[in-house]
Amino acid sequence: MTEKLDENFIKSLVVIALGIMRGKGDPYDLVNGAMEYLISNKEKYMDHPNIKAIAVLKMKGLFIDGIRKNQKMTSMTDDEGNDLQIVDEKQADISDKISLSDECNKVLSVIKTMGEKCQEVLMLASEGMSMQEMQEVTQVKSLGTVLSRLSNCRKELKGLLA
């Protein structure tokens, strides 16, 4: 895939960053970090066939770095994928500064209460990624796993919204 590199590319990353940050932290900071990385490595990435995947993986790396350095983020997972809660409840939910309609606010709020994997995959779907792209950025081995994860998370979302 060759992305059109413009504001919309960065806005797509903001959507995805919301899923990575899990409501605790500024998604714009994460996007900014990934963009700085891409710009400083222009020669390496400007012709990359899937630069969005590079940016998303960089954001995930930055998120994990943030946890390790500051422990300001919500949680991380152990080797088996279980949540390790290291929540700093005092930290403001900076993503709230993105003003949304009531309907979208409700959906985003519910997504933030869901597990890490669901948050990630639902925001990737919200951004409009195809299953193949989701597989690439989530680094899940099987496309079927991505499909079933998204299916289960959407069922859970529907249940929580009801």
Partner: protein, 251 residues
């Protein structure tokens, strides 16, 4: 037993066409699957709206500055096309795209590069278009890199070629006189200059408004590898004028 993921893909319009019939029959035969299908449609719609709404927000200045930097990495596609008339076929309505996206219920979209009618047996018009344009094989289109592109991009791409304003202006005066299953045309033309025809498939009422389902009279070739996409428009009469309330694209 149908895999739930297939129901999801069917609801999203991403299920391979050869599996449609099986899944469709299963949904029709099982109320639980029908409910699941409806739920997937609903969550798909919500996620689509959420993504678009977030993307409609302006970027902070520091990110806008970076957008200005990366814009220079690739040439704008319009200059790459030069005299190619892709973008002159229909009026581009960027300003209307965001608002339109919010109104749309999209069952699944496969929009890529161009709009052109296609027969079920071959794709003569595509062939003709390729001859006319003589585009290089590795030509890249702005925001339309593959059939797997994101949904919002697909919607945007559709609107590059579908002039909603012109369409409504054309049909507003005559749609009430058209009988069910009648074929009619607007001033829209495909890439070969052929008038695009529509069929009135249903009259219905939504929220007290008179509405109609209008289908393109043949599957559209919306991308280089599109096998044919059915496009269905819901138009509803609001303040004495019909407006598009949803667009459903399905394979």
């Amino acid at each position: 037993m149908i895999d739930e993921t297939k129901i999801m893909q069917y609801a999203d319009g991403t299920l391979p066409i050869e599996e449609h019939e099986e899944v469709k029959k299963a949904i029709e035969a099982d109320p639980k699957l029908k409910e699941l299908y409806n739920n997937f449609q609903e969550t798909g719609d919500l996620l689509f709206k959420l993504g678009n709404e977030i993307k409609s927000k302006p970027l902070p200045q520091n990110l806008q500055d970076k957008a200005d930097i990366i814009k220079t990495w690739k040439k704008p596609i319009t200059s790459e096309f030069g005299s190619f008339n892709f973008f002159g076929l229909f009026k581009i309505q960027y300003a209307g795209v965001a608002a339109a996206c919010c109104l749309m219920f999209v069952g699944g979209m496969y929009v890529d590069t161009f709009i052109s009618g296609t027969s079920t047996t071959n794709s003569n018009q595509v062939t003709a278009m390729n001859q006319k344009i003589d585009a290089p094989k590795d030509l890249k289109f702005r925001g339309m890199p593959s059939a797997e592109e994101d949904l919002s991009t697909r919607v945007t791409n559709l609107y590059r070629y579908f002039d909603e304003e012109q369409f409504l202006e054309d049909i507003n005066s005559k749609i009430d006189t058209i009988e069910l299953n009648d074929e009619f045309e607007s001033s829209l033309e495909d890439n070969d200059g052929k008038k695009v025809k529509f069929i009135l498939v249903e009259n219905f009422n939504a929220n007290g408004n008179d509405c109609k389902k209008v289908r393109f009279n043949e599957p559209l070739k919306l991308s280089s590898n599109d096998q044919g996409t059915d496009v269905l428009l819901d138009i509803c009469k609001i303040n004495n004028n019909y407006e598009i309330s949803s667009i459903v694209l399905s394979k």
